[in-house]
């Protein structure tokens, strides 16, 4: 069977070569019509059947479960190419694979000259649980929390302190990159002084932060402000470090 098939192919190739030879000779004859006719050369002997070659590779060779890799193979002198687990394939080609477990891809190339094998192995690792992508909204909120910095104020003041401009710049950068995020600026005060006056002061602080952002191009429609005065302190002690913690414009992500 094999031989028969191989001969058949060889004969076909031979015939093609013969045809080509004839054409070429005809051309030479026509070009050299004025020349003497020469005797045609004897037909070349049929070449021995070439043994097939095969190679297969996968890129990348390691994936996480659920990801895919590209399988690339090349063969020559093969009439029957197959990959275990995939089946018959073209002599050369590529294919995306996404196996659940580590897999060895075994390519078999059969031709008149014999059979050639090639293998490649794709390693599949389980997905790391901690790096599972969270839902997009939570991610945005987390990013907001990580990137947007509160703005701190001096005692009884509601103007933006020079050393707070870096925080405003960082906030601007993030908010510009995430134009769909809406947010609230809470104005807070330390626990000294009067409830009513501190609520008005907190209102001015929230307004000052909002004003700094809108002046720099953030749309006012994204920003709500609220004053908490001294009603919701971050820190409860009676010292300057604590008071400073409480004198701030606090950013809150709006769901």
């Amino acid at each position: 069977m094999k031989r028969v098939n191989g001969k058949k192919i060889n004969m076909k190739q031979h015939t093609l070569k013969s045809v080509a030879t004839v054409v070429a000779l005809s051309a030479i004859l026509m070009l050299g019509a004025c020349k003497k006719k020469a005797a045609p050369p004897p037909p070349p002997p049929p070449p021995p059947p070439a043994s097939p070659t095969a190679s297969i590779s996968v890129s990348p060779d390691t994936i996480q479960k659920g990801q895919s890799a590209t399988l690339t193979w090349q063969t020559s002198n093969a009439t029957d190419v197959s990959i275990d687990g995939i089946g018959a394939v073209q002599p050369s080609g590529t294919q995306q694979v996404s196996p659940a477990d580590s897999t060895t891809y075994h390519l078999t190339a059969k031709g008149a000259g014999g059979t050639q094998d090639a293998t490649t192995r794709l390693t599949v690792t389980p997905p790391p649980i901690v790096e599972a992508p969270p839902p997009p909204s939570a991610s945005e909120e987390d990013l907001f929390g990580q990137n947007v910095k509160d703005v701190y104020f001096d005692y009884d003041k509601s103007d933006i302190r020079a050393d707070q401009n870096a925080a405003i710049q960082a906030d601007m950068a993030f908010l510009n990159q995430h134009p769909n995020i809406n947010f609230t600026i809470e104005g807070h005060c330390d626990n000294r002084g009067s409830t009513e006056y501190n609520l008005a002061l907190g209102d001015q602080r929230a307004g000052a932060v909002k004003n700094a952002l809108t002046t720099a191009g953030i749309s006012a429609s994204r920003i709500k402000t609220i004053s908490y005065g001294k009603e919701k302190p971050f820190c409860m002690e009676d010292n300057e470090a604590c008071w400073q913690q409480n004198r701030r414009g606090h950013f809150v992500y709006q769901k």
Binding site: D156, G193, S194, T195, E196, Y197, L199, A200, L201, D203, Q204, G207, I226, S227, E231
Partner: protein
């Protein structure tokens, strides 16, 4: 009595008192001696208020007596007698004669009065208030008299009878009513305050809500149930509505509570942060602070919330307006326009701005019923390294002269005048946490009204 002596302030006590306990004890001893040495030292205080310079009437108040053997008498008599004594003692109008000077047999009815025992030493009383109580068939009856015991020929000044269902509340209300009658007659025709109410903010429910109580701290009850933060309750002059500021879904809004309906009634939302409502003396208008246009400014609107008009235009926060309680023609308010908050006055049309306080941190003005005085919370020395505490001050508006009323440490804020102008209620942290305290307008007779949770921003009813 002993308690009020110990609490009475001293003019030389300073704000460092709280961090010098040994010195504080020393001062207490000194103050007790001073007070025992009596009134010559009291003149070192600048005393202000109505009816000053008038010798206080010596009033003897023996316990009212049971008229029959009903088992309910004992409990109701205790409530009545305690309430009645406290009302007269707190009034600042009379000098109560100590019970240790009373004879063993005290009168329950007019025929039992022995004048010579009362009008000569040791009681040496000018006036005698006495009477009786009886429960009959679930109803309680109180009879009370006020006698001028020096005028033996025609002693009766007052004779009153009260009837109600026999409850503790009824006994307390009867005591308030009769005390007010006496104070009205002995206090120069100014009505007593025993039936007045105080509204305040308490966190004892878990949230800051508006509460109400009788003027003496009894009968405390929660009014609002916002579940967020409710602040700055202000009762209307007729007592029917209570304006306050609360955190709602849209921010800080002025809300209106009906004390007749016991529920919120509608009031418009103005936008921005809306704080510190204040009633005009005719009850027709409200002043408030709103940041609806950007920064906090004083606005005036109708009592319905309509016809909102802006009264101030300044860069700093303007809050805590209060009307001239007598004329309604001026406001006092707090402004941060020059830095630290100061108290200002202006005409009701927004003209004639006057800065009243010269330094420090001055907030929470309250205008006296007679129109002449402001009381306010003031930290005169304020800033880094200045441990000054917030104290209650009294200021004569015309002269801007002031006198410090509290000296005993803690943060003192939100003073509010009683209807008779003789008392001031305020919040103080002197006990370790914010509570409501009350005193006479000269700083004497200080006593605590609330003890549960944190309590703040008291507002005394107008009558």
């Amino acid at each position: 009595m002993d308690d009020s002596h110990r609490k009475a302030p001293q003019f030389f006590a300073d704000s460092s008192l709280s961090i010098w306990p040994a010195r504080a004890r020393f001062l207490c001893v000194v103050s007790s001696l001073l007070l025992l040495a009596s009134t010559s030292f009291a003149q070192d205080w600048v005393r202000t208020g109505s009816g000053l310079g008038v010798e206080k009437v010596r009033l003897a108040v023996p316990d009212f007596k049971p008229l029959n053997g009903d088992p309910q008498n004992t409990a109701l008599l205790k409530t009545f007698n305690d309430t009645f004594w406290n009302d007269l003692d707190n009034s600042g109008v009379v000098e109560l004669v100590s019970k240790s000077f009373y004879p063993l047999q005290v009168p329950g009815q007019p025929p039992e009065v022995t004048f010579g025992v009362w009008n000569s030493p040791p009681p040496n009383a000018a006036m005698l208030a006495f009477g009786n109580l009886a429960v009959v068939g679930g109803k309680v009856t109180v009879q009370g008299w006020l006698y001028d015991v020096k005028n033996t020929a025609s002693p009766q000044v007052l004779g009153k009878q009260y009837n109600d269902v026999a409850t503790d509340d009824a006994a307390r209300i009867m005591a308030h009513k009769f005390a007010d009658e006496i104070i009205y007659r002995l206090g120069g025709g100014i009505s007593g305050i025993a039936e007045s109410k105080i509204f305040f903010v308490s966190d004892r429910s878990g949230h800051k809500e508006v509460w109400g109580m009788d003027y003496d701290g009894s009968n405390q009850r929660q009014l609002t149930h916002q579940g967020s933060i409710a602040l700055s309750p202000r009762i209307s002059p007729d007592g029917s509505r209570l304006a306050f500021s609360a955190l709602t879904k849209s921010g800080w809004d002025i809300l209106m509570y009906s004390t007749d309906l016991n529920r919120l009634v509608s009031f418009p939302r103005f936008g921005g942060t809306n704080l510190s409502p204040a009633w005009s003396p005719d009850g027709a208008k409200l002043a408030l602070s709103s940041s609806r246009s950007g920064s906090s400014e004083i606005y005036v609107c109708d009592a319905s919330g309509g016809n909102l008009q802006r009264m101030t235009t300044s860069r700093g926060p303007d809050v805590s307006p209060v009307w001239n309680r007598k004329t309604g023609a001026q406001f006092a308010f707090v402004s941060g326009r020059t830095g630290l908050p100061q108290v200002y006055t202006m005409e009701a049309d927004g003209t004639n701005l006057q800065r009243m306080t010269d330094q420090g941190y001055a907030v929470s003005p309250s205008w006296s019923p007679n129109g002449q005085f402001l009381t306010l919370a003031w930290t005169r020395k304020y800033g880094p390294g200045e441990p000054g505490s917030s104290d209650i001050y009294l200021m004569d508006i015309a002269s801007k002269q002031w006198v410090q009323l509290t000296h005993d440490g803690g943060r003192n804020d939100f003073p509010s005048w009683s209807p008779d102008g003789r008392h001031i209620v305020f919040q103080s942290s002197r006990s370790g946490k914010e509570e409501i305290w009350e005193m006479l307008a000269d700083g004497s007779k200080l006593h605590q009204l609330t003890f549960t949770g944190r309590n703040s921003q008291p507002n005394w009813s107008w009558k």
